[in-house]
Symmetry: none
Subunit: 196 residues, 4 copies
């Protein structure tokens, strides 16, 4: 009857379900998406969902985890591309990569951390990223690249500026996007008292 094999490796099924769920959650929201919507989109039966996830909440957790993992990886790699004492390069790299990642991941971050945040605050990308930015600001200050009074507050401020600016609608346009990235980096530099 069916040309496709009936069974797939567990990880593949999981991914298909997660991709379908991600798409639907972003389109209509977590509460507004039913498990059946997800399984229909993933072209499996309802029961198959529960072979991979023990509840609807669990797939959201998995989505969050996947997002954090990708995000943290990418940003770290980008920062490491510039070695001290090129602190400005590191800061620009952080800002640029972080912004791009948010732009690419679209409102996924918004979904998994803002709209449907984890029950406890542990492991928030938000925190992970803010911490990494704070460290960057501190090491740059120590290295004499700039001076910041309160690295934590500055990190919070800049992170949220970036996050909010990037979430603003209208960033689909590539030209706008480049302008935005440039503006973000300029503001980052200004905020630490560097001319860029």
């Amino acid at each position: 009857m069916s040309s496709k094999p009936r069974t797939k490796p567990a990880t593949e099924r999981r991914d298909e379900l997660m991709n379908a769920a991600e798409k639907l959650f972003l389109e209509r929201g977590f509460e507004q998406t039913t498990v059946e919507d997800i399984t229909t989109a993933a072209e499996v039966a309802k029961g198959t969902f529960y072979l991979q996830f023990s509840s609807k909440t669990e797939i959201l957790d998995a989505l969050r985890q996947r997002f954090v993992y990708n995000m943290a990886n990418t940003v770290t790699t980008a920062v490491e591309a510039c070695k001290p004492p090129d602190f400005e390069g590191r800061l620009a790299g952080w800002a640029r990569t972080c912004a791009i990642q948010y732009l690419e991941s679209g409102p996924l971050h918004h979904l998994v951390f803002v709209i449907a945040p984890p029950p406890n605050r542990e492991g928030l990308t938000r925190n992970i990223l803010i911490d990494s930015l704070e460290e960057l600001l501190k090491s740059g200050a120590q290295g004499g690249a700039w001076s910041v009074d309160d690295p934590h507050l500055t990190a919070v401020f800049l992170f949220n500026a970036l996050h909010g600016a990037v979430n603003q609608p209208g960033n689909e346009d590539m030209e706008m996007r480049e302008k935005l990235l440039a503006a973000i980096i300029t503001h980052f530099f200004r905020s630490v008292g560097v001319q860029g």
Copy 2:
């Protein structure tokens, strides 16, 4: 039988319901609050709700509208307290009042704009406030108080920085709060190239 009058002016009923709803939505979230929760808290019968609002969504809209109205009013009033050419005073006033309002209104803003945003982008405080900030930046630039390349982008950036920073947990402490307000104003000034 009952000492209280059973009928009240419509506006009073509306307010009681909205207050109850606001409290509950903030405590447990929109989806997690039932219409019955609201009417119980407001001490009216379930049906009374539908005399004032045609659906559960509608009371959220009303809440949002009330929030925007209060917010815009307060910020405008604060800015007008300083007259040109004191553009720095106006900018500081904008930042300070806006931040305080968010801090006071607490997660209400988060609820009505971030978690349960309006279906269309019209009338977002976000936009209203960003527009007012953009105007302020432009007029300050014209007045020679500072210079900004792209007033819109800067407004977006600063608004979101403020919004995010203020939403950060840990702002209940009054001392922290003052430090935060000061830091925000400093960043605002730095971003427009003024020493503050």
Copy 3:
């Protein structure tokens, strides 16, 4: 559209639901009956069930309680119809009424106590009735009407004999039923060493 009034007194609705549930539980079993079966039979919507009972289990509890109440009442009344020293009359009354009640209540007892017994043993009719029989045996022994070595064991034995005998299929026939009642009473008397 509908000729019947939409609302009924809560107790009436409750009774209708309980009657429908009793019928269905007896016909097909507790697990095999769905809440929707019950509401369909009671001619109300599914949600109406949950206005009266907070779960499917709860209606079974209510059924059990109703059964115990009726049973205990009837047997007590029957026993009290004969006053001491007519202990034989009291014993015969107990046996006869208890048997008739079981015959009339049909397998309801079986359902609520044997098939779907309460989570804790407290308040079992079984126990209530056995206790009352034990008391009767003791008072008769004290009054010199008969002698029993171990009133508790005898009560247990006789109660179960009666219960089992009455549950036997084939008791629908009225003639059979009378023979059965007579046989039960005879055995009761024999068991306490009385000729009847």
Copy 4:
């Protein structure tokens, strides 16, 4: 790869599944036990279950059949240990063995006949045992050992008395158990008009 052979004789598999099912059904009930519970306990895959039994109901039937077979065998053997004209010995043997069997088999009988009875009445141990008791009562009456008016009714009565008495909680204690057995035999004798 695996040290154990992956295939076993059908009867062995069947027995393992039946033993696992019996244990689980008694522990948590028929409806509350899933096929997967059974196969997990029997350490086979889910599909293997359906190699031996065509449905969950069928394994219950098999359990019932096994129970009846064992029960009938044991009681018959015990009765045959006394030869006529020792009818009293045969009756005492019947009562004692039957009671002990129920005590040993524990709630298994309760499960397979009371809680989850067969759809049709055919082959009920209940009936088989009642029939054998009825025969015993008749032959004893013919042999002049006792007199009973209605052997069938008496058999029904006594069987149910025994069954119910034995099912009563609190029979785990060995001393209680002996008292119970003695009381049962006494009542059996009294019921047929013998002093024992």
